[in-house]
Structure formats: structure tokens, C-alpha cells
């Protein structure tokens, strides 16, 4: 079983997704590498425009082409490269083996069909079940996601649901075909704090029950600390640090990650310490600086940072960083202050 846990079920290699717009080429995802193991939760953190959602959409083949285009890369799932799949084949994976929970449940549900209809549609798209069987399966799903009064709820429309319940319905749809990968793209951003906690617990519980893997995309470092096992930090389309959750928080090696941790106020701290924000704002993805994309905002930037983007290096075991100065952080010659 231990061996099984280490099994890679998804591998993304050198993925590049660009958007060709009138204003220029937007390098939304620019060289993303990661792998996902069975049963793990991989967190992807980053700010608006860092490419975390586009990475997820590319995996599912949901990028609008044009203007979007997958320039290069491989997405290997169950021995197949999803990028080389025909659309008809891709349908076998999408919503079935890999499914997604979107950020805003109101816009992702269809307002003119009731919840039951939408659930049954998701089931029948991939499973050869009769109407009655699908209906029973849908009821079972609603039970799994903690919606009570199920028979009545099957006939309800999305507007009759509260935000939290809509997200539960979305999750029911996502797990309808017992996928092996669940991609949750900011699943709780649109929800209230107490509901957020409920939904995240639900996703985590379902993951453990079905031994599936979760890619959790969020900008909330607290959520990452609680649920993720490994974390990829993205900045301006590129992954800058990729490590276990403990390394990300306790031994950060990339200045951006360092800055993110300094930017959030912690509920547990007794004293009110002044936040240490990162200066400036993220660059436009159309004309990125030549060197490191973070150099402009980085207080540790040195000359090579302006010339080329640093290569991603495994500085410690399973701790990947793209920064020229990571070694100095590691051996202590450069303070993380």
C-alpha cells in the first residue's frame, strides 16, 4: 500500500499555455512541471494572474482555442498524453476520471435545470445506467455531500439553494463518476467563513474516503497549511517553488514565497506585528521582464536576476526552487529578513 501511495497518477511536463491577443502574447502558463501522487492533496498557490487556474483548465482541455494555445508540454495521465488525445477520447477523461469544482457555484450551475437533472446528466454522460438507477445514484451523491431532504432538493433549482449548498451540489456532480483526480479551483472563495470550513472538510473527507487525489488551487495560505501535503507556488505563469507543505512554510527558499508568508496576518499571534508586504504589483503577462519575473519586486535581486530566468533546481530533497539566491538562504549566508 505504501508503494501505491507513491504512485504518480498525473505528470505535467514543461506545460506552456499562451493566449494570442491583439495586445500581444500573454504567457499565462509558462513552463509548469509537477506530478500528482495517488491520495495526496497538491496545493497550487498564487495571486490573480499567476496561471494557477489556466494550468487546471489546460489539464482538462478547457482552454478556448483561439485565442488560447498549448504551445508545448505533456500531461500524462494513466499512461496517455492528454494533449495528444482526440476530443472524443478526452471526453472519457473529462468529468469522469478527472473532474473539477469551480470557484463560483452560481455561474457554474445551469439556472434553468433543476439540481436532479444536472446530477443525472453528469452520471449518464459516463455511466451506462437506467433512469431509475441514475436517480438513486444522484440521491446517494446528495447524501455523500451532506444535503438533507434529498428528494425535494432534487427538484430544486440552483437559485433556491444557498451558496454553500450550491457548492455541495457542484461537488456531488464532480464526484459522480468517482474520479481519480479532483481539481478544486478556489472552491470556497465565494463563500462565507463558516461555510468555507464546512466545504473544505467535505472535500478532504471525500478524498480520504475514495482515495482520490486533489489539486487544490487557492490564494489562501491558511487553507494550504491545513489541507495540502505538497505545494507549488506560482508567480506570473511560472512555478517558483515546489516542496512539501512544511518546507514551504518553515524553510521557504524563494523570496516571493517568503514575501507571501510575511504578508498575511496570523490569527494565532499574540503581538500585533507589522505586516511585511511585497512592494509593487505583479507584472503584466504581456511584456514580462527579461530576467526573473519577480526581480522587480524582490529585495534580494542581484545582477544575474535581470539577465535570465533562474533554472529550477532541487536544492534539497524534493524541494525545487527557481532562484539564484536559494543556495544562500539554504546555507544561512543570506538572512530571510
Amino acid at each position: 500500500m505504501a508503494n501505491n501511495l507513491q504512485e504518480k497518477i498525473l505528470e505535467v511536463k514543461n506545460l506552456k499555455t499562451y493566449f494570442h491577443t491583439d495586445a500581444g502574447v500573454v504567457k499565462a502558463v509558462d513552463g509548469v512541471n509537477f506530478d500528482l501522487k495517488r491520495g495526496e492533496t497538491l496545493g497550487i498557490v498564487g495571486e490573480t494572474g499567476s496561471g494557477k487556474s489556466i494550468t487546471a483548465l489546460t489539464i482538462l482541455g478547457l482552454i478556448p482555442i483561439p485565442p488560447g494555445k498549448v504551445e508545448s508540454g505533456e500531461i500524462i495521465f494513466e499512461g496517455q498524453d492528454l494533449l495528444k488525445c482526440k476530443i472524443s477520447n478526452l471526453k472519457h477523461f473529462r468529468g469522469n476520471r478527472i473532474s473539477m469544482i469551480f470557484q463560483d457555484p452560481m455561474t457554474s450551475l445551469n439556472p434553468v435545470f433543476n439540481i436532479g437533472n444536472q446530477l443525472i446528466e453528469a452520471i449518464q454522460a459516463h455511466q451506462n445506467l437506467s433512469k431509475k438507477q441514475s436517480y438513486d445514484k444522484a440521491l446517494e451523491l446528495l447524501d455523500m455531500v451532506g444535503i438533507s431532504d434529498r428528494k425535494k432538493r432534487m427538484k430544486s433549482y440552483p437559485h433556491e439553494f444557498s451558496g454553500g449548498m450550491r457548492q455541495r451540489a457542484m461537488i456531488a456532480m464532480a464526484i459522480a463518476n468517482s474520479p481519480s483526480i479532483l481539481i478544486a479551483d478556489e472552491p470556497t472563495t465565494a463563500l462565507d467563513v463558516t461555510i468555507q470550513a464546512q466545504i473544505l472538510e467535505l472535500i478532504d473527507g471525500l478524498k480520504k474516503k475514495t482515495n482520490s487525489s486533489v489539486i487544490l488551487i487557492t490564494h489562501d495560505l491558511g487553507v494550504i497549511a491545513k489541507y495540502a501535503e505538497r505545494v507549488m507556488v506560482m508567480y506570473a505563469g511560472k512555478p517558483v517553488e515546489f516542496a512539501s507543505v512544511n518546507d514551504i512554510f518553515y524553510r521557504p527558499l524563494h523570496p516571493y514565497n517568503l514575501g507571501l508568508i510575511g504578508s498575511v496576518s496570523k490569527l494565532n499571534e499574540e503581538k500585533k506585528e507589522r505586516l511585511k508586504p511585497i512592494k509593487g504589483t505583479p507584472p503584466s503577462l504581456i511584456d514580462l521582464p527579461k530576467g526573473c519575473t519577480f526581480a522587480l519586486r524582490c529585495k534580494f535581486a542581484i545582477k544575474p536576476c535581470w539577465d535570465s530566468f533562474p533554472p529550477t533546481i532541487e536544492e534539497e530533497q524534493n524541494h525545487f526552487v527557481a532562484c539564484f539566491r536559494a543556495k544562500e538562504f539554504l546555507n544561512g549566508s543570506l538572512k530571510r529578513e
Binding site: 495571486e47 490573480t48 444557498s162 454553500g164 449548498m165 462565507d192 467563513v193 463558516t194 461555510i195 468555507q196 470550513a197 464546512q198 473544505l200 472538510e201 490564494h219 489562501d220 495560505l221 491558511g222 487553507v223 494550504i224 497549511a225 491545513k226 489541507y227 507543505v245 512544511n246 512554510f249 518553515y250 514575501g259 507571501l260 508568508i261 510575511g262 504578508s263 498575511v264 496576518s265 496570523k266 490569527l267 494565532n268 499574540e270 500585533k272 507589522r274 505586516l275 511585511k276 508586504p277 511585497i278 512592494k279 504589483t281 505583479p282
Partner: protein
């Protein structure tokens, strides 16, 4: 303790009900939404009072009432000892100059057709302060204070990032040299790294100009960072008021406990040890709020009395000075 000269704003028994109209001419009243239902609080000069709660709890309605953008159903709002609800239009004008607001969404709150110079100078024009030249000087000065380049006065909002736009919003609130600024979720639309910049700026401005803030947010970690005292709202009621440290150290109301516990802390080891309280269910509809204590259907500590009687906001001096809570079992720990 509070005394007349230190209290800048006091809200007493404030109520705002929105009536639901039905019928062909919308002439029948079908019920009411008790958006703000009998709230009391005060803000001292120079302090930051945080008002926290989930969506629909009435915190933004409270802000609009204080600005008198909407008329309350009943209650009183005292500003510098004067009840502003009795002020005439001309007197209100002066009061409006002293109270400003920073809005949540810097994309929606700046007109895309106006340059940022126009946006920031509009309050000066409305209040007929200065002439053209002195205004321009004042605008440039204010832009500099909030960390924007004064050379950018002729640019339009779309040329700025979210954080910079929020700085424009702050400059607009600041230019009239107000006493009280109502901040309605000023950072919730911004990215984490930019949030910290704006929060630090607001704290610096407060020190420099001796500003008083009413800081509205749904995020307890942000509120903790800026506030001196905090009020927690649930379904139109204030359920707990306390100095910030006391509220976080020893929350008395089960809703506050749940709210605090729901927020994951960015520290993996701590997070793994932490016992979390997950409050069940949704926030009920304010049209038909639960009887007795409005929180009782979701409360893990609820007893019979909670559904029958409404608890009053009472002082619990043993838990820090001026720690108020509205709960029959205040301070009782929650066992999951």
C-alpha cells in the same frame, strides 16, 4: 471608560427593517427583513472599531446608516454628541465632510470616465474648497501621501492595478481631512501581497492624521491586525463586543468561537494539532429569523432557553475590561 469627549460616534438602538412589498401596486407588506436589529456600539476618537460578520449580517447596512445614505427605522446616531438623524439638510452637508467611506471594490467605485485627478478633486468641488490651483496642489499632495505618483493625475483608473486603485479610493476619502472613515471591506478584493500594503498604509495614515476608523470585514485575521475593539454581528444583532486581544484570547460567544476556529492558520504544524469547531448549517434567512437567540439552530451549546428567550448583550468584566456578549452560556467551551 467612555466619556463625552473621547467618544466620537455612538450608535443607540439602531434598527433598519426593509419591508417586502407585494400586491399589484406593491401596496401590501408581506414581511420585513431585519437587516439591523437594535444594535449599540460606540467608537472612540482615534481608534479602529472592527465590525465583523458573514454576508447578510447587516454590517454594510450599519455603515450606510451611519453615513445616513439610508434612513433608519428607529434609533439614534450620535456624532460628537449630536444626533445626526435630526440634522437638517444643510447641517448634514457639514457632517458629510467629516465622515468619508472607502469602498470594497476599487474596480466598481471609480468612474472609468474620470481621471484620477478628477476623482480625487470631486469632494473638494462639492464642498467648494479652494480654487483651481490650490486644488491641484492639494490633490498632488494627497496622491503622494497614499503612495501614488503625483504625475499620474491625468491617468484613468483602467491604467492602474487593483491596489493602486484602492489607493485612489483612499486619497478621495482623505482629501477632505475627515475625522471618521468608514472602511467597507477595503482589502477583500485585493491580492494577498497587496492587501498587506494597503493595510499598512491605512495604519500609517491613521497615526499621521489621527483618524478614526470603522473597519468592516468578514475576515477576522485582517480585522485583528487593524482593530482596537471589535464587534461581531450575526443576523442583524451584535453578539459580542470586546477589545481585540480579549476577543481573540477568550471569545465568549459560541459564534465568535466558531468564526475564529473556521479560519485556517498559515502554519502547518499548528493547523494539524488544532481542534476545529465546524459550525453546522447555513446562516438563516433574516426575513424569518429563529426565535430566541438567533444563533441557536447552529449553536453546539444551545439549550431550551435559547430558543425561547433572547439573550441580552451583557458585560463580563472577569474576561477583560468591557467584554460584552449576548449569550446565556457565555464563555462555555464548545465540545465537538
Amino acid at each position: 471608560m467612555k466619556s463625552e469627549d473621547t467618544v466620537l460616534l455612538e450608535v443607540k438602538n439602531l434598527k433598519k427593517y426593509f419591508y417586502l412589498r407585494t400586491g399589484f401596486f406593491f401596496n401590501k407588506t408581506a414581511g420585513s427583513i431585519k437587516a439591523v436589529d437594535n444594535i449599540n456600539f460606540f467608537i472612540r476618537r482615534g481608534e479602529t472599531f472592527g465590525l465583523v460578520g458573514e454576508s447578510g449580517c447587516g454590517k454594510s447596512t450599519a455603515a450606510r446608516l451611519i453615513l445616513r445614505l439610508i434612513q433608519p427605522t428607529s434609533g439614534e446616531i450620535f456624532y460628537k454628541g449630536k444626533n445626526i438623524l435630526t440634522l437638517k439638510r444643510s447641517q448634514m452637508f457639514k457632517y458629510r465632510k467629516e465622515i468619508q467611506i472607502i469602498f470594497q471594490d476599487p474596480y466598481a467605485s471609480l468612474s472609468p470616465r474620470m481621471t484620477i485627478g478628477d476623482i480625487v478633486s470631486e469632494p473638494l468641488e462639492v464642498h467648494r474648497i479652494g480654487d483651481k490651483n490650490s486644488r491641484i496642489k492639494e490633490i498632488k499632495h494627497t496622491l503622494k501621501i497614499v503612495g501614488l505618483n503625483p504625475e499620474h493625475v491625468n491617468r484613468y483608473p483602467h491604467e492602474f492595478s487593483g491596489g493602486q486603485r484602492q489607493r485612489v479610493g483612499i486619497a478621495r476619502a482623505l482629501i477632505l481631512q475627515p475625522e471618521l472613515i468608514i472602511c467597507d471591506e477595503p482589502v477583500s478584493a485585493l491580492d494577498v501581497s497587496v492587501q498587506a500594503q494597503i493595510l499598512n498604509l491605512m495604519i500609517d495614515l491613521q497615526k499621521e492624521f489621527n483618524l478614526t476608523y470603522l473597519f468592516i470585514a468578514h475576515d477576522l485575521s485582517v480585522v485583528k491586525y487593524v482593530s482596537n475593539r471589535i464587534g461581531v454581528m450575526y443576523l442583524g444583532k451584535i453578539v459580542e463586543v470586546a477589545p481585540a486581544e480579549d476577543l481573540y484570547k477568550k471569545p465568549l460567544h459560541p459564534y465568535t468561537m466558531g468564526l475564529l476556529s473556521a479560519i485556517p492558520i498559515p502554519d502547518p504544524d499548528l493547523e494539524k494539532q488544532r481542534q476545529r469547531i465546524i459550525l453546522p448549517g447555513d446562516v438563516p434567512s433574516p426575513i424569518n429569523p429563529p426565535s430566541g437567540c438567533r444563533f441557536h439552530p447552529r449553536c453546539p451549546n444551545a439549550q431550551d432557553i435559547c430558543s425561547k428567550q433572547e439573550p441580552e448583550l451583557k458585560n463580563y468584566p472577569e474576561n477583560g475590561n468591557n467584554h460584552f456578549a449576548a449569550c446565556f452560556f457565555a464563555g462555555k467551551p464548545i465540545n465537538n
